[in-house]
Each structure stands twice: as C-alpha cells, then as structure tokens.
Amino acid sequence: MRPGEKRFGIGRVVAFAVLALMAIGWLMPFLWAIATAFKTEADAASDRTWIGSEGPTTDAFGAMLSNGNVWIWAFNSLWTSLVITLLTVAISALAAYAFSRMRFTGRRWLFAVIVAAIIIPPQVLIIPLFYEMLAFNMVDTPWGLMLPQIVAPAMVFILKQFFDGVPLELEDAARVDGAGRLRVFWSIVLPLSRPVMAAVAIFVFIGAWNNFLWPFLVINDTNLMTLPTGLQTVIDAHGIQYAQTMAQAVLAATPLIVVFLFFQRQIVKGIATTGFGGR
C-alpha cells in the first residue's frame, strides 16, 4: 500500500481482477497436469474433463513409484544439487570477499576477466569439457557431472557487490582484537550476508536440480542419472504415458516448491539487497 492510495479504490479492484486472471492462467497448466496425474492412462489419452470417466485414481503414482529408478534419480538429483550448491557458494563467496576487501597484485584485471566470463554460455564449452572429462576418466561419474557446474562467475560478481556494501567498521573492530581474515569472514561477514547467500544458493540449486544438457551428455549409467535425464529415458523408451509423466512432474517439482514457499520472502529480499536495479 503506497502513500496516497485509497484502500478500496476502483484501481485496486481492477488490479486484483487482472492479477487473479493472470494467476489462474499461470496455475492452469500445472493444475491440469495434477488432474491428469490422477487419471487412468486411458482417460489421460482421451478424456478432456478434469476428472476422467473412470474416476480419480492414484494408479499413475503407484506405477511410477514402483519403478525403483525414480527413487535413485531423485536421490542423485538431491545430493548432487546440494554438493554443487555448497561448493559453488563456498568458492564464490571466498573469491568475492578477497575481491571486495583485500589488496593484491592483479586484482583489477583478474576481476575484469571473471566479470567478462559471465557472458560465456556453458553450451559453447560442451565439446572441450566432455573431452576433458574423458581425459580425467570422469565421464559417467558424479564428479564429472558436478565439477563443471561449480564455476559461476556471475555469483562472484553478485556477492562482491553485496560485500562492498557491508560496513568496514565491523570488521576493523574484530581485526583490532586480533581475528584473522578467515575468522572475520566466517563470524562477521557471513552472518550479515544470510539473505543474499540464501538467494544465491537457491538459484544455484534450482539450476543444478533442473540442468539437462550436461547430465544428458556426461552420464550414461542409469544408476547415476538425475531426475531430468532419467525421466527422459523413460519417455524415450515407452513413448509418452501422460498420467505417469504428469505424476512424475508433480513429484519432481514438489521439493522445490516447498523450499520456495519457505524462503520466498528471503529470496526477493536477497535479490533486493544486492542493490539490484539501483543506480
């Protein structure tokens, strides 16, 4: 509510109506997918109503969950995404802190190189990266899947922007008391950076959880696949089974939706505190 706005103006009513229509439009495909997940395959392939002619059923969920691979893929997705997120945030934050607070030879040009690297699309690197993974014997291993994903120059840039805004006095006081750089970083800067770290971590996690191209190239072993590539093999093998596919869609999305619901305020705040959109 902005100052100068009436609480029940006609504008608010119109805005609410437009917003509600858009929200319905945006939720509809997902709701339709959920409805289909509760149909029989026969209904899903032919029936256009919300509830199929044979009534709602959890058959599709049952069929999907009895496929042991789905559990393995979900587990793989979870732990690889967590490791990628942890490593990315850790190495990016340390580097960003050095760029923000320390003075060392070559700082400017090194930071310039990293910022310039933001523009490099990972898709351009798939051939040489695959080659490198062959040389390291990392094709078809979790490390081959994870390591190339931990380099995120954009995150270094975002975190440095944030650290630049943290008051220097807090750190100086601690340093006078004899705390080392790492100690200052760990016990003063990191706690102050929680919102921006949460925002960065969540975007890295979503990216890793949903990444398709790289896992698709580097992993062939069914037991090492993540959900996106694993589900694709099922679709390729059996053709599309709409009810089961939608059940998988709903299940694969649920953990991220829960995480987002918990952290959504922090995420927006985190983006805002990076000075996004400021001059």
């Binding site: 320390m102 990293i114 351009v124 040489p128 931990i150 599309i240």
Partner: protein, 313 residues
C-alpha cells in the same frame, strides 16, 4: 572485451586500507590468493581451459572416437559459413530470442507492478508466477507436449470453444517455434518477475510521498516515478533475457523430439548434434565459436548502450 569490463573496475572498492609494512603486505597477498585459489582453480579447469581447448579443436578434424585430430586450418569455419543448416539454426535462435524476449520482459513487468501494489494474497501471487520456473525442462516439456496435442490437448480445447483451430502446434513447422515461445514464457517469466519485484522494493518511499503531496495520482506516479526508476533494472533484465534466450535448447529439443527439427533446430542443438550424433568434435567446436561470436557481438552492443546511458545521466 574492454567494453564489458570497464564498469565494475571503476567501481572497485577503494576503501581497502593501504598496506602499512612490506611484511604485512606480503602476508595480505598470501591470504588473498588463499581465498581466491579454490575458485580460480575451478575457473581455469572448467572454463578457461575448455575455452582455449575448444578453440584449438575447432581447427582440427577431431572426432569423438579419438580418430583424426590433425590440423585443418580454417576448413571447419569455411564449411560452417557455407552450411545452410548452420545459418538456419542461427536464424531460428535469433528469431526465438526476439519473439520471446518481448513478452518475457513486458509480462514480468506487469506482474511485478500488480503484485507490488500490496494486494492481499502476496505469497499466492508470487508462487503462481514463479512456480513454473522451479520445474525441470523435462517436466515442462511433457506438460506442454500434452497441452499442444492437436487431438486431446487443452490448447485446442480452449481455442475450439471460441471457434478457432484445430492447430497442429508442434507438428506444423510454421507454428512450432511460437509454441515453444509460449511454453518458455510460461516457464521462465517468473525469474524476471522476481527481479522486477526486487527492483520495485528498492525505490524509496519518499519519492511517492513527495509526489502524493504534489497531488500526483496513481497513474502519474507510475509514469513519473516507478517506470523511470525501473529503467536500470529493465536494461539488465533485457540483457540477461537475450543471453538466456540465445541459449535455447532443452525445451525445444524435448518438445520436438521426432518432429521436423530442420526448421526449428536452435544453434545449441546443432552444436550437440554435430558433436555427439555426427561425432565431429572439430566441426562442432567451430560452430560453438561462431555462436560465441554472436553472443560477444550482442554483449558488446549491450554494454556500449549501457555505458552511453550511464555517461548521459
């Protein structure tokens, strides 16, 4: 690339204290490099080295199987530049970028402006618009393959009610790129929406209070305060969106599997197909670099535009 790197450097912190003694200075150097080392090692191993090696490969006839690998000079590039499939893939990618960026920015702006008005149900609006972004490309592809199914899909069911259709969304080569655009807008607009929402929160309330005192109504405030304040964010969002749209692959590949891909093959898919289906790593690397050149041109163009704007203001 100097244009790209100018801005952050000039803003680099100058608040760091000057080193007092040479001994302290050496120690500071050592500590700095210790902080940087983990990132730099990964940066060199998984970004700088592949970038350089890819450039080398693009001048060889390397195959996936390890055969070949001899220097062929500019042959791959000569072939790429006369390869009509490559040009069509590049054209498809550029068309997709233009057609998708406009709604992805405008719809996100409208969403954010409406949500920021503080209407009841904040969490629900945010969730509704952002949720699709949380879905994997495999998942959204299957949802939209089903919606776009010409016989049983929801899209034709809705259009049928108002007397249009039926449209063969994914099968018709004149339409399927736009079908991909629709699915992509639904899938990713939430990210831009969050960025706009964050930018709106950064506009100080005093601006509105002052305007209200001057008797400016809501529309006047929108035109004179909100939209001008959003210009820097918009420039950044458009830039990020163009770079993201140029990388089109996942959803197009998965939604059009087995369908006529010749007119709707994005450049990233052609890179993948030349390397991993045609086994021609050298040629694939060369196309990667043609694509990269396009990205650099776009990037430099955007940076110059941004810098000009900044020097004007």
């Amino acid at each position: 690339m100097t244009a790209t790197v100018d801005t952050p450097i000039t803003r680099a912190t100058t608040r760091t204290k000057p080193a007092t003694a040479p001994a302290g200075r050496n120690r500071e150097q050592l500590v700095s490099w210790a902080f940087l080392a983990p990132f730099l090692i990964a940066f060199v191993l998984f970004l700088v080295w592949p970038l350089a090696h890819g450039l080398y490969l693009s001048f060889t006839n390397q195959s996936l199987t390890g055969a070949g690998g001899s220097w062929v000079g500019f042959d791959n590039y000569r072939e790429a530049l006369t390869d009509s499939t490559m040009w069509r893939a590049l054209g498809t990618t550029v068309l997709f970028t233009v057609v998708s960026t406009i709604p992805l920015v405008l719809i996100a702006l409208v969403m954010a402006l409406l949500v920021h008005r503080g209407l009841p149900g904040q969490w629900l609006w945010r969730l509704a618009f952002f949720m699709p972004f949380l879905l994997a490309s495999t998942v959204i592809s299957q949802i939209w393959v089903w919606i776009f199914n010409p016989d049983i899909g929801a899209a034709n069911a809705v259009l049928g009610k108002i007397g249009i259709g039926p449209i063969a969304w994914l099968q018709d080569p004149d339409v399927n790129l736009y079908a991909i655009v629709i699915a992509t807008v639904w899938w990713t607009v939430g990210f831009n929406f969050l960025l706009y929402l964050a930018a709106l929160q950064n506009i100080p309330d005093q601006h509105y209070e002052a305007a209200a005192l001057d008797g400016a109504g809501p529309w006047r405030q929108l035109w004179s305060i909100t939209l001008p304040q959003l210009v820097p964010a918009t420039v950044l969002i458009v830039m990020l969106q163009i770079l993201a749209s140029l990388k089109l692959f996942d959803q197009a590949y998965q939604m059009l599997i087995g369908l006529s891909t010749d007119t709707t093959r994005p450049i990233v898919q052609y890179i993948f197909e030349s390397g991993f289906v045609g086994y021609r790593f050298g040629y694939s690397a060369a196309i990667s670099y043609v694509f990269f050149a396009l990205i650099i041109i776009v990037g430099v163009f955007q940076m110059t535009a941004m810098n000009r704007r900044r020097s004007l203001s």
